[in-house]
Symmetry: C2
Subunit: 365 residues, 2 copies
C-alpha cells in the first residue's frame, strides 16, 4: 500500500492524459477533483493488485460521454457516490476498492477522488492500459466478465441501473441514456472479484502513468528531451513532427469524432499527417503511409514541453510531436483486435503493430 | 374480492380497448395473454381499492412503446416477472398486488396475466381512466407520486432500473431506453402504498371496462344499438359517423403519430373528420368545427358491431362512429390540463370540455 499525495496526483494526471491518446477526459478537471479530495480527506491509499483479496468486491468508476461535453459538465463528486451506493444496495455487497476503467486525464483521476471521498483504496490496475471510447473495450470483456450490473448517475440526481445480457447491450443502452442525460454521466461499472481483477486487468498502470508524468516534469531540470524520456518509458516511437493546420471535430451519437491535420516540419517537411479520432485517436497516416493504428496508442505531445494534448485542446498552429506506443499484448489477440481494431471502427484495413509500421513504413493502397 | 374468468377477460378487453382511445396496445394480444394465464394458473383475483391495506406495497405493470411496434413484438410474460423481481430486490419489499397504469387493450390485460403468473391479486384501479402516451400522464403524478424506482425489461433479458428526480425525467430516459431496446418493453412502475393508490387512482376502472364490453357483446341478442349502450355507460356523445378515407401513420421518437380522415355519412354527409393521434387520439375536428380534444376521450367504433378500433387497426373504407367521452374530473384541473391537454402536445388551442363542444359546436378560427 502506498499513499498518493499532491505531487503524485500531478504526475499521474500527465501520464494518464498521455496514455489517454487524445481522449479519456480533460486532465485539468480530473486533477483538480483529485487534488481537492486529498485536501479535504487526506492522501489516497493505492493498493497493488496483489494486495486485493481474491473474494473482495471491486467496482470501476469513471465518466462516460463525449469529452467535448465533459469539459463543460464537470462532475460534482456526488454522482459517483450515489452510483456506488445504488450498486451496493442492488448487489447486497460492500465495495472493497475502486479502480479506473481506462487511462485518461479524467478517468484515471475520478476513481482517486471518489476513493478519497468514500475512504476506499484504489487499485493500481485498469481495463485498457490506454483509453477507448466504448464500454466493452476492456480486457475484462476479453475474459467474459460482465459490465453490469452497472449504474449511471447524472449531476441532477437521476440514477439508472442496467443489468444487461452482454457488454455490447450495456454500451448501447448506457450510451443512449448518456445522450438523454446531457452527453456525459458518471458510472460504477464492471463489478467483479479481486481474483477477476488480478487475472484480467492491466497491472501497475497508475505507476506507469506516474513515471511518465515525473519524467516529463523533471526533463527540464535534468536538461534532457522530455519526448525521448517518454519514448524510453513507454517503448514508443516518434511518428511525426509538425504544426497543427486543421481540426475537424463534431459531437455526434454521444461521441466526439473528427480529424486533425498536422503539417510536417524538419524531417517530415512536405508531408501532412492525418489523425482520425472517436474520443480517442484511432489512425495516424499520411497521404501514402500508414503510421499507427488502434489498438496501438497514438499520442500528440507538445514539441517543447512534452505534455500530452487531448483532441479538445488541439489548436491551430500548435507545434507537436506525434508518438506511437505498442498496446498491451492482451489487445493483440484476435478477440482483442476484433473488439477495438480498425475494422470495428469502420476502417477497411488490417491491424499492423506499430513497431512493424515504423522504420520501413507501410504504403497505403 | 372477485375472481375473473374467461368471459370477464373477453369483456374487459373490449371495454379497455374502447377507453384506450385508439392506443393502449393491441387488444387481441392482451386478451390472449390473459386467457392463457388463466388457463395455466386459474382465475385472477381482483380486489377493489378498499380491500388493499394502507401500507401494502403495490406496483403498476404494463408495456411502453409505439403500439405499431408492440403488435410485432408480443411480450413473453417472462419480462414482467423479471421486472418485478428486480424492483422487489432494489426496494427490499414484496409486492402485494399489481394494477394497470392505463385503460387499453394491452395495458389493462398485462397486469392480469402477470398477476396470474405470480399468484398476486390485481387492484381495480388505474392512473388514467383512459390511455395516454407518456409515463407522467397519470393521476399519481398530479398528486406528486414518483414513477420511480421503475424497471424496464426487454424480451432478451436486459433490465434497466431508473431512479429519477421527477416523472418527466423518468419518461425521457425510459423512452430512449425503449427505442434502443427495439421500440417496446415491459415495465414495473409507480411503486406506492395502498393508501396512495386509494387517494390518487381512478377506482373501478376494470368494472367499467367489463360493463362496456358486456353491453357491446349482448347488444345483438338484446336487439339494441351497441353504440347507444356505450354512450349510456360512458356518458359519452356521438361526434361523427363516416367512412375512413385516409390514414397517415409513422413511428417516430418511439411513438406512433399520425392523422386519420373520415368522410361523413348520413347526417354528416359533406364533412370530413380529422383525428390526430400520438399513440392515442388527441384531437377530433372537421374543417371548421372542433369536436373533442384531449384529455377528453375520442373513441372510434365499428358502426355495425360497436367494437372499438385502435389506430393500427384502422383501415381504408371502414364504417365508423366516432364517440367523445368526458375524461375523469381529475384531468379537468389546471395541473391535469397542463399535463395532458392540447398545449402539451403542441396544439395551439384551449381545452374545452366535450359536453360544451357537442350540440352547439365551437367554430375553429
Amino acid at each position: 500500500m502506498r499513499l498518493l499525495g499532491k505531487q503524485e496526483i500531478e504526475d499521474i494526471a500527465v501520464g494518464a492524459a498521455l496514455l489517454g491518446t487524445g481522449g479519456g477526459g480533460d486532465p485539468y478537471i480530473g486533477k483538480l477533483m483529485a487534488l481537492q479530495a486529498i485536501e479535504e480527506f487526506g492522501p489516497i491509499k493505492l493498493l497493488s493488485v496483489d494486495e486485493v483479496p481474491d473474494d473482495a468486491f471491486v467496482v470501476s468508476s469513471g465518466m462516460m460521454g463525449a469529452p467535448t461535453v465533459m469539459v463543460e459538465k464537470a462532475p460534482s463528486g456526488h454522482e459517483a457516490k450515489v452510483a456506488f451506493q445504488s450498486l451496493e444496495k442492488y448487489m447486497g455487497k460492500e465495495v472493497f476498492a475502486t479502480f479506473p476503467i481506462e487511462a485518461g486525464g479524467l478517468n484515471s483521476m475520478l476513481p482517486l477522488a471518489l476513493a478519497a471521498q468514500l475512504g476506499l483504496p484504489v487499485v493500481d490496475v485498469d481495463g485498457m492500459g490506454r483509453a477507448f471510447p466504448e464500454l466493452q473495450m476492456v480486457t475484462f470483456y476479453l475474459d467474459g466478465i460482465s459490465a453490469s450490473p452497472m449504474v449511471i448517475a447524472d449531476e441532477k440526481g437521476n440514477v439508472t441501473l442496467l443489468n444487461t445480457i452482454d457488454n455490447l447491450w450495456a454500451e448501447r443502452i448506457a450510451r443512449s441514456v448518456t445522450i438523454q442525460k446531457g452527453g456525459a454521466v458518471m458510472f460504477a461499472i464492471y463489478p467483479m472479484t479481486g481474483r477477476n481483477l488480478k487475472e484480467s486487468g492491466i497491472h501497475n498502470i497508475l505507476k506507469q502513468e506516474e513515471e511518465i508524468g515525473r519524467s516529463i516534469r523533471l526533463a527540464k531540470e535534468n536538461n534532457v528531451d522530455p519526448i525521448q524520456e517518454v519514448l524510453k518509458i513507454t517503448k514508443g516511437f516518434e511518428l511525426f513532427r509538425g504544426k497543427v493546420v486543421d481540426i475537424n471535430r463534431k459531437t455526434e451519437t454521444g461521441f466526439a469524432r473528427g480529424t486533425a491535420k498536422i503539417e510536417g516540419l524538419l524531417d517530415y517537411y512536405g508531408e501532412t499527417l492525418e489523425i482520425r479520432f472517436q474520443n480517442e485517436h484511432l489512425i495516424a497516416k499520411t497521404d501514402d503511409r500508414l503510421l499507427c493504428v488502434t489498438p496501438d496508442l497514438i499520442a500528440v505531445l507538445d514539441a517543447e514541453t512534452g505534455l500530452p494534448i487531448t483532441t479538445e485542446a488541439l489548436r491551430y498552429g500548435a507545434r507537436t510531436v506525434v508518438v506511437g506506443i505498442p498496446c498491451h499484448s492482451k489487445w493483440r489477440t484476435s478477440k482483442g483486435i476484433e473488439t477495438c481494431g480498425p475494422a470495428y471502427f469502420g476502417y477497411e484495413m488490417e491491424y499492423i503493430p506499430v513497431e512493424e509500421l515504423v522504420g520501413k513504413g507501410v504504403a497505403l493502397k
